[in-house]
């Protein structure tokens, strides 16, 4: 997402031993006590885990409405009028005795000894036949059980046996095959009762990796619920958000929202469709588990008609592609998703291409005689599925559509005499690749993100909409160029390392908004650097990371140049990605465009015809795009025509003669 999350914090005042204090309403008392510098002994609390409330050492006395009672501070929510007594006789007495119980049962476990000493217990009257002298004994704190459930979303470990027979086990006392070996349990165990017997990849510093991994997992299990809800809905969580910000590519990117979006939105997917939400095969032990699945979905068309199937998804892009074609129906999303997967075609390319075909059909560029009778209007879900089946069978109109937008444009101009300029404006492809599912009209940085991406307009390389448009985090060309330099390199780096990017900014630390550059989510960038260093033993910083990526990035650009592309002309994008192509499109957002004309272009729109206003807007926006392109080239160390300068290749240590030969002619 990349949107820095700021949560409204309501603080409530209360007192700790008579001293004023305050804490977030509903937050747990223990954190507030520790923040106030009060030492509270605990054996089952862990800052990354939900409170368990079982060791009972963190008890304090609270006074509410004149009544005093003993509560565990780890899970007692701060709310209402509250006085806390942390060192009353009762607190000290019970803590000491509970600590003595621990000491009687597990006298040699270091954490137990340490905590018992804090509580004033040095010897124990609770020694019995159950006393376990093992210094690495399990003390039933439940860290591992919760880590398994909350980090890995598995339930491999749990306690069995009642009362004093309580012990840690796996189901049926046998090694559980669903255990993915994520090692969270062993890592988080305070006594060393769980040992890792295998270090398969021999990392340089496994602890460094686990420390950073645990931070990710902890944030995931505690913050996701209030942030992007990736665990519940996956990337589809942003369907409604995109609609709200006028960014959904409705009807071939003409409009940013639609009254029926809720029919394919996060709520309906979560409530009516998704049946699975476990970590997918893409990364065992992933604590985000954003992959979602619909089980037992009954297909209505195609070769598997009538059969219940398992649909892997849908993700945001699939829902976005469906909005692009205007088919706002949850069942359609599932069926489209299933057949695209089954036929091995991409929902983005297919969806964007068909949306283009639909606009061409509705504007009369093509007609039923060209489509083999298919009435391909926006929203015609049945026709879309038929077209998809044709594409797979290599029959009918499907053969043409399967070639993609660039091929269709050329054919229609050549054979049907279609208006080339119009098709170039509305055919949402660049470098031959179909656009992914965001409207970039109001975000110059995102236009650059699409247009200046080496492999074409996909969102993976630079997804800057939120930072630019919603948060206005980069108001100048310089800032946009910096983002178009930094983010493609950062995102390329994930690919180089084989690491998933979703736990970089699809969850952000609670205090991310306090960072100097929150859009970079620096806290999480540091995590990745730790992963790298922990694995390889080589420390990493931003400079080094950018250089690692830039070598590959520039190599790719040089190779593209060798293939005859990769100059400014190829970085152009259709005008639909920059502004309103049609009158209808302009008028649907006339207020916004008129306002911008006044404030940004400095032209008074009053009395001007829509056509005139469109012309002025277009000239301005195209000029803006050119400027951002030039600024970005400069930042990347490329020539004005978008070719890497030899000096840049030298700087990166990749000025190999073969490469220099390719770009030599392009140098200024």
């Amino acid at each position: 997402m990349g949107a820095p999350v700021k949560t409204a914090v309501k603080k409530v005042p209360f007192t700790i031993d008579g001293e004023p204090a305050e804490a977030k309403e509903g937050s747990f008392l223990l954190a507030a006590l520790r923040e106030a510098g009060v030492s509270v002994p605990t054996l089952c609390a862990h800052k990354e885990l939900t409170p368990y409330g079982v060791c009972r050492l963190c008890v304090v006395e609270v006074e509410q409405k004149g009544r005093r009672k003993l509560v565990t501070s780890c899970n007692f929510p701060v709310r209402g009028e509250l006085k806390v007594h942390t060192a009353s006789d009762a607190v000290q007495k019970h803590r000491r005795l509970v600590a003595e119980m621990y000491l009687g049962r597990w006298p040699n476990v270091p954490v137990v000894k340490e905590v018992a000493k804090l509580c004033g217990a040095t010897s124990s009257r609770f020694r019995s036949a159950l006393t376990d002298e093992n210094p690495k004994a399990c003390i039933l704190c439940g860290h591992c059980v919760r880590a398994c459930k909350e980090f890995a979303l598995e339930k491999v470990l749990h306690f069995a046996g009642r009362g004093i027979r309580r012990h840690l086990t796996m189901p049926f006392n046998a090694p559980d095959k669903t255990c993915i070996g994520c090692t969270s349990c062993a890592y988080i165990c305070p006594t060393g009762a769980i040992e890792i017997v295998d270090e398969l990849n021999r990392p340089a510093d496994p602890k460094m990796i686990r420390d950073a991994g645990m931070k990710v997992s902890g944030e995931m299990s505690s913050l996701d619920r209030s942030q992007f809800r990736m665990r519940e809905t996956g990337t589809a969580n942003i369907v409604d958000v995109m609609d709200r910000y006028d960014l959904l590519p409705v009807h071939n990117y003409r409009f940013g929202s639609h009254p029926d979006t809720h029919k394919i939105g996060a709520d309906i997917l979560r409530k009516k469709y998704f049946t699975q939400g476990m970590s997918d095969g893409c990364w065992y032990g992933c604590s985000m588990a954003c992959a979602k699945t619909i089980d037992g979905f009954k297909l209505k068309t195609g070769p598997y008609q009538g059969q219940p199937v398992c649909v892997d998804g849908p993700e945001y892009e699939t829902c976005g592609a469906v909005s692009n074609m205007g088919c706002f129906d949850g069942d359609f999303v599932a069926e489209f998703n299933f057949y695209c997967d089954t036929y091995g075609v991409d929902t983005i390319s297919v969806g964007t291409t068909i949306a283009f075909v639909m606009e061409a059909f509705e504007t009369g560029v093509i007609a039923e005689k060209h489509t083999g009778g298919l009435k391909l209007r926006f929203g015609a879900g049945g026709a879309v599925l038929e077209l998809l089946h044709q594409m797979a069978r290599g029959k009918g109109f499907g053969v043409d559509v399967g070639q993609g937008i660039r091929w269709l444009k050329e054919k229609w101009v050549r054979e049907y005499g279609a208006d080339k300029k119009f098709l170039d404006d509305i055919g949402m492809e660049a470098k031959g690749l179909e656009f992914s599912e965001y409207i970039s009209k109001e975000s110059l940085a995102q236009q650059g993100g699409y247009g200046l991406a080496i492999k074409g307009p996909q969102h993976d390389e630079a997804w800057l909409i939120f930072m630019d448009q919603v948060n206005n985090a980069m108001p100048t060309f310089e800032a946009k160029a910096e983002a178009l330099h930094y983010f493609p390199l950062w995102r390329t780096w994930f690919g180089l390392m084989g690491l998933c990017k979703l736990c970089w900014n699809d969850i952000v630390p609670a205090d991310n908004y306090l960072e100097k550059e929150p859009s970079k989510v620096p806290g999480h960038v540091r995590n990745y650097f730790k992963f790298f260093e922990g694995m390889t033993g080589i420390p990493l910083d931003e400079r080094k990371m950018l250089d690692q990526s830039a070598r590959v990035y520039n190599l790719q650009r040089v190779m593209a140049r060798m293939l005859g592309t990769a100059v400014e002309a190829h970085d152009a994008i259709p005008y639909r990605a920059m502004g309103p192509v049609t009158k209808e499109e302009y008028e649907s957002r006339a207020e916004r465009y008129d306002k911008q004309m006044q404030s940004l272009i400095g032209v008074d729109p009053t009395g001007k015809s829509t056509e005139e206003k469109m012309r002025i807007t277009r000239a301005y926006r195209e000029e803006q795009y050119r400027k951002v392109t030039q600024a970005t080239y400069a930042k990347r160390g490329w020539t004005k025509n978008g070719v890497p300068k030899i000096s840049r290749l030298k700087e990166l240590g990749i000025d190999l003669p073969e490469l220099v030969a390719i770009v030599k002619a392009d140098q200024e």
């Binding site: 003993l70 019995s128 009642r162």
Partner: protein, 620 residues
């Protein structure tokens, strides 16, 4: 005429057709003494003699006077036959029904006066009781919904569903339950209406569904109130749940019932099925917009699952372990949805509040504890059974007037209330009024209503040991004080009872019990210190005698007992033959002797001796 009225009229008319109705108790107690066979042979006998059109046999739920079972009550005159055997059936038919003369030998005699008491109304066991939750006890067939309807059942629900302004009526129901002063009968004593109000508020605020749950996971040793209510009148519980569900806007309910209650389960299932066929459960109940259904969840026999949060965890398929309830179940209960949990008896009280009014209900009992309470009266008491009494009645009235006092000329010593984690109340407190607050003040608690009477042959240290042992076994082990503290208390008590008590034990027990009570996670642990604390409070001397003098004054703790053969011995050899450890030796016709080293204090010698020649002492 409305469908319910039609059923009521038909059934009542039908009843009047009969000259007499024979109410055969088929509660679990009487069933274990062949209650079903008695009911069936009575039916067969009447049929064979072609009398079945004049006399109706009804198998009812528990009559309550379990000590006198199997029981047949002949209505309408109320003749009470006790300890009936299958062989007595013919006599009841020919002498009483045909001959018009009661069968004298099956009538109940007051054990203290020896006087024959032919009618239920004359008997001390019944005439101090006040039936509210058990209003249909012995009067209906629990497996016949029409019987319940004929007694005015489901009328409260029907009236409420017919109210024009449903929202206002629902609000009023909650306010009426608050006004009635009804407090949870499961032990906590939380005001029921306040719970409903909070649950409803939470559901509306969060836009989430709300569930109602009936807690029928009665696990206290010696307690069978909830089982009996379900076996006797399941529809009263169901109607209560329906009214509650309607008032708070719930569409789904559960009954969490113990697996060990097969008969209650059969009757509950039958009640649910009948309610569905009569349009009292399911979609659009009684033609209204209200839809609601109930599912049964069978508990697997963990005592802790009677605790609300553990119960809900168990219902959700998790291990039955409690959680902290700083956030209440009414807000985050079953599957984290707002949930209203009430005990069986609480639900059974609801319909009658709306039949007779909140004012009527609040006029019963005491100011802080209105209404009645059902108790199961067991232990060393003449009239073992199920009783329902107004709150505020004294312990003495329950134990002596209703219970008939302690049998065999023994002396009353204490009564244990509140289940395993309740406490023991001594003779000096017999004038105490029985209500939520007084029992708590006395160091015990109301609990769900188990009452175990103990006489002077009971060792209070042993009692504490027994209950602590039970709780040690039933503690889920999740939190430290309950898990480790109970184990330590159990070990200490075992030691004391085994004659190995030492100085400081009492202080240690007290200290541990206080911390277990104060620092445990749930109310199982939160009251687990009570057996120790309450026996120490009232019977500290017995502990001291055990520890210092190695003496068990009640002659219970085996290790502290000494059997001796006195000079009364005639040498009959009976004791020697029966002694399992061959500790007794001696020649025929000569006094025997007992080898203390071999004796295991089993007491067989004393039991078999015909000459009172075995003495039992507990002295150091």
């Amino acid at each position: 005429m409305d469908k319910l009225d039609a059923i009521a009229a038909r059934v009542n008319k039908d009843f009047k057709r009969y000259q007499a109705m024979l109410m055969v108790c088929t509660g679990t107690g009487c069933v274990s003494a062949k209650g079903f066979s008695i009911r069936d042979s009575l039916k067969a006998e009447l049929k064979a003699r072609k009398l079945d059109d004049r006399f109706l046999v009804v198998g009812t739920g528990c009559n309550g006077f379990c000590a006198a079972g199997p029981i047949i009550v002949v209505q309408p005159e109320g003749v009470f036959y006790h300890k009936v055997k299958e062989a007595d059936v013919a006599a009841i038919v020919s002498e009483h029904l045909v001959g018009g003369k009661v069968v004298e030998r099956l009538l109940y005699k007051d054990p203290s006066t020896g006087q024959v008491q032919p009618k239920m109304a004359d008997m001390g066991f019944f005439n101090k009781q006040q039936l509210v939750a058990l209003r249909n006890k012995g009067l209906i067939d629990p497996e016949n919904v029409e019987h319940y309807i004929a007694r005015g059942g489901y009328q409260s629900l029907r009236r409420l569903l017919a109210e024009k302004d449903q929202a206002a009526a629902q609000e009023k129901v909650i306010n009426d339950v608050i006004a009635s002063g009804l407090r949870g009968r499961g032990g906590g004593g939380f005001p029921t209406g306040v719970k409903w109000e909070a649950g409803k508020k939470a559901a509306i605020k969060r836009g989430e569904p709300i569930y109602v749950v009936c807690n029928a996971d009665e696990g206290d040793p010696g307690a069978f109130m909830d089982r009996s209510i379900i076996e006797t009148d399941p529809h009263s519980v169901l109607e209560g749940m329906l009214i509650g569900a309607w008032a708070v806007g719930s569409r789904g309910g559960f009954v969490y019932i113990r697996k060990e209650y097969p008969l209650a389960l059969v009757r509950l299932n039958k009640a649910l099925a009948d309610a569905r066929t009569h349009g009292l459960l399911g979609q659009r109940i009684l033609g209204s917009d209200f839809s609601f259904d109930v599912k049964i969840h069978r508990g697997a026999g963990a005592f802790v699952c009677g605790e609300s949060s553990a119960l809900m965890a168990s219902m959700s398929g998790q291990a039955g372990e409690p959680r902290a309830k700083y956030v209440h179940n009414v807000e985050y209960g079953y599957r984290d949805k707002p949930t209203i949990l009430n005990n069986v008896e609480t639900w059974a009280n609801i319909p009658i509040i709306f039949e007779k009014g909140a004012d009527w209900f609040s006029s019963l009992g005491t100011k802080g504890s209105s209404g009645t309470k059902v108790f199961s009266l067991v232990g060393s008491i003449k009239n073992t059974g199920l009783v329902e009494v107004p709150m505020g009645i004294t312990l003495r009235e329950i134990i002596e007037d209703i219970g008939g006092g302690v049998p065999d000329g023994r002396k009353f010593k204490a009564v244990q209330t509140g289940g395993p984690s309740g406490g023991c109340i001594p003779a000096s407190c017999l004038e105490m009024k029985v209500d939520f607050d007084s029992l708590t003040e006395a160091g015990s608690m109301m609990g769900s209503g188990g009452m175990i009477v103990m006489d002077d042959r009971t060792c209070m240290v042993d009692v504490a040991r027994y209950f602590v042992d039970f709780l040690t076994d039933e503690s889920c082990g999740k939190c430290t004080p309950c898990r480790e503290g109970l184990h330590a208390m159990n070990e200490t008590l075992q030691r004391i009872c085994a004659g190995q008590g030492k100085a400081g034990d009492i202080e240690f027990l007290e200290e541990v019990a206080q911390t277990v009570n104060a620092a445990s996670l749930c109310q199982l642990g939160g009251t687990a210190g009570n057996p120790v604390l309450s026996t120490l409070r009232y019977f500290r001397r017995e502990y001291e005698e055990h520890i210092r003098q190695k003496k068990c004054p009640a002659l219970v703790c085996k290790a502290l007992l000494r059997y001796d053969i006195t000079d009364k011995c005639t040498g009959c050899t009976l004791c020697a033959k029966n002694c399992p450890t061959k500790a007794i030796t001696g020649e025929r016709k000569k006094a025997h002797s007992l080898d203390q080293a071999k004796c295991v204090q089993c007491g067989v010698c004393k039991d078999v001796c015909n000459f009172d020649a075995v003495s039992l002492r507990s002295e150091s």
